[in-house]
Symmetry: C2
Subunit: 345 residues, 2 copies
Amino acid sequence: MAPLRWGFMGSGKINNDFATAIDTFSKNEHKKVAVAARKKASAEAFAKKFDFEKSYDSYESLALDADIDIVYIGTVNPNHYELCVLCIENGKHVLCEKPLTLRLEHTQKLIKLAEEKGKFFQEAVWSRFFPIYERVRQELKAGSLGEINLVTAMFGFNDQQTARLMRKDLGGSSLMDIGGYTIQFALQVYGPEMPQKVHAVAIKNVEGIDMSVAITLQWKGGQIAQLTSSFLAKLDSSAQIWGQSGSLEVHEPFWCPEEMTLKGKTEKHPLPMVKHDLEFRNGQGMVYEVQEVKRCIDNGLTESPHFTHKETLIIAQIADEVKKQIGLSFEEIYSGDKEKWKESV
Amino acid sequence: MAPLRWGFMGSGKINNDFATAIDTFSKNEHKKVAVAARKKASAEAFAKKFDFEKSYDSYESLALDADIDIVYIGTVNPNHYELCVLCIENGKHVLCEKPLTLRLEHTQKLIKLAEEKGKFFQEAVWSRFFPIYERVRQELKAGSLGEINLVTAMFGFNDQQTARLMRKDLGGSSLMDIGGYTIQFALQVYGPEMPQKVHAVAIKNVEGIDMSVAITLQWKGGQIAQLTSSFLAKLDSSAQIWGQSGSLEVHEPFWCPEEMTLKGKTEKHPLPMVKHDLEFRNGQGMVYEVQEVKRCIDNGLTESPHFTHKETLIIAQIADEVKKQIGLSFEEIYSGDKEKWKESV
């Protein structure tokens, strides 16, 4: 099988960790072709550090590069939609960081476009490809927990400073940044169906961005999920499945885990070693996502069975309902002078 | 100070544990005068086991006994209201098991009546008198956790068999039986104010009784509580306070605890030894409630400052709103043939 040829959009922290993950594979499997960033110097430095063949100061140039099979998009949230369109329309496979977009309508359009074009397309919910999530799926399939009616998950840290989390023009919001991890956990258990009830309350900052959000979901069979995300306090960021025959806990950090406890017995699945310093906790765990993307593309799949387009869509639908209930909208950053938000990339 | 002279209504499991708690004190402090139950044999057996002076097969007779200062009511839920009225109107102090009543209107009437009569009156939320709850109050007063915006608590076990939990005519419901413990925990942190928002979803049995209920509360300052109670699965029944400067966890069983962890440091407060077998987990912890009741009465207080009438009322108001949202009502057991439900006492 030919190596998968990668292009990167963005040269920030998340791109650092994703390139580090790719670096654990041989060049016969994954090839780092080009990186694009708004600033030429940033792109060049990144290309040098991670041994990319080329660098661009234009996303368009990267999208047109015929040597690239798949583009990894790791820019700030408000850019995701336009960059995904650019890549898909130029015939690239795409792996785009979460949240895929800030608007339900954009997510719907992207999925439709990707399916029309028949390219591999995925929101980078890396959690799903960790060995522990595979174990969770095994146990759910085996039914070892009995009937499950409650799922809980919390994700919280204390940070009211980081611009990309706090500012509306950068797509900040605890819901959009980390809340999606709690929602995907519930969907992993109950399956990709829209809940019947969505209840949300939030604590917002002066810009109207949610610093904390507490969400209750209930599906038509009665199943409940209680989810919380917060930038206001360090929470025990683990996730639980409470079955009638026992419980399963994915330990903190549940979104990129190394440990779980099933019916009182703890299992460890250590992550691989990597060559570079990481920016995010367990960032090396992106290796599993890299592997899965290649497996899918090699097999002609346009989505991973472990995190489907349908799930991306349901997360966006739930987030849309939550946003309505807590009075949060990103519409204003998509009207008027678009250069305003592009500056912050 | 004269000994406090106790009468008991009911001779079931909870009465067993409460009598056991009283038995840890000297007869110069607490005196067991009489017990009343619907069946003469039950009352006699209970009186013999715990060395009560008298037994009655009539609640009225006990309420009229001039040798009694305070009545402990431990019957099933639907009787609480009438028995409280009976005792208060006959000039007794009253300690009544939770839930105080099944209807907001009843709780409002009881508190009004007790305040008019000037007798000590308390819903038996024993949790509040444990040494660990005193420690929680100390830390909250000291402000050591910083600003607090999230409180979480879960209480769950797997039992779909026990009649008093499952049956509407016995006042069953996870909300009424154990949900109150989660609500009182949030009020301990945020203070006795009605939240601005109450959101609830439930899973109900064929009778329409909630087997699980998930509640989100939000106060006007933004503070959130996420609470869950369930008869469908064994949950980690602990409670957490998440502050900006650190967290405090009251370990399972948080409603009658021996351990807490404050900013990573675990404290133990073991419970006293008792003479009889217990029916409920840490039932001996009722000793703290017994102590507090005597302290209040000796000092002429009509309510404990650690669990006030106002808190009882707010719990009832929250429960009332939850019941409305989940479509649960106990009204039918108060109309028509009242003997029907009395039978089950």
